[in-house]
Symmetry: C2
């Protein structure tokens, strides 16, 4: 099984490393995917949104057929929704993928690749209205959502929750539990500064405030 994670300039760091950690841990401790690949358009370093520089495992040209593809978000998505090479890669791979996943504003790349029309999906709270404006997406304000093989999550850190839910659905609760335990993902529930009460806060957050 090949699991690909898309990289592009100004991808947000935690958007892809959160899911990557869960994915790689799944391979290590619970018989997850045989190959986990970071894929970019070209060989050579990718500059992330917050200054991290990473080296992809393969380029579009040498990427094997993928069983699953995850598309992270970040400022870079604003340019990549107009990059035909990247959109062609995503839509071509998606045709034979069992599922595609997005984190944060990665949802806009899935949409531009023709994968979100008529589907329920979500994104970072700051981009929910922009996703609604596209007109053909049923935007939900959940931590993550799945609709017809397309998974999407809220912003940045939500990709971790998305990936654990995906593992639970794909390989069972025990596999997800092994990954969660190994990554010691039992996060604090502390909320600082009461920002969850802001008017822009997503519905899933307000409901638990």
């Amino acid at each position: 099984m090949n699991f690909g994670v898309l990289l592009f300039d100004k991808v947000e760091e935690l958007d892809f490393v959160g899911p990557w950690e869960m994915l790689a841990m799944w391979s290590k401790v619970a018989e997850g995917p045989g190959r986990c690949l970071l894929v970019a358009e070209s060989p050579g370093p990718v500059q992330c949104a917050k200054g991290l520089s990473v080296n992809p495992h393969c380029s579009f040209a040498d990427c094997p057929p993928l069983d699953y593809l995850l598309v992270p978000g970040g400022q870079g998505t604003r340019a990549e929704v107009g990059n035909p090479n990247l959109l062609d890669f995503v839509s071509a791979q998606a045709r034979t993928c069992k599922a595609v996943l997005s984190v944060c504003t990665g949802a806009f790349i899935l949409h531009a690749a023709g994968l979100l029309s008529g589907k329920r999906a979500t994104t970072h709270w700051g981009s929910l209205d922009r996703l609604r404006t596209l007109g053909d997406v049923e935007v939900v304000e959940q931590r993550y959502v799945e609709d017809g093989g397309v998974w999407s999550s809220a912003g940045v850190s939500a990709g971790i929750d998305l990936m654990l839910a995906f593992i639970a659905r794909t390989a069972g609760d025990d596999a997800a539990g092994k990954v969660q335990f190994a990554a010691e993902y039992y996060p604090s529930s502390v909320r600082y500064g009461a920002y969850e009460n802001q008017v822009q806060a997503p519905a899933y957050l307000k409901s638990t405030a």
Copy 2:
């Protein structure tokens, strides 16, 4: 203000990218550190524990004096506790740092650099007994802990909670709230497979199981 994050071969990905995201977000949205630097012994790519390859911003030789230093964990710590160049770098920087922080088994590097003796500290649940065996650390089973300017956290994902708590202490709750909101860090409380009931589970986890 210079905030350094240490890298070394087989560093665990989320151990450093979780705090990195919070740190860089702090700089962006709440007047955090002016310079956030990923520092490795030598120039050139660092191979992480789960297969990610990253390019550090500077080497020990060209690293400026740091105000804060965070040391992540991972399998690589088992070798690095015997690397005098790395331990010299950590202990020399720590002398003028306002605080040093570790995530997961990064605690063993702080100890080897002489920074944990007589202090309360923690690490990944799977290494708590090994940390106790060192004899001169008061090991606590908390999500994170601070003692005399030395912060340490539980495993892998706990570095995110550590960094937000550190920001709150250093810059106030409102700054931490801005970072938390921007990174949409309001994690799910779902627990898979009941691994929190395992005998090895740390005390902070059992108390909320």
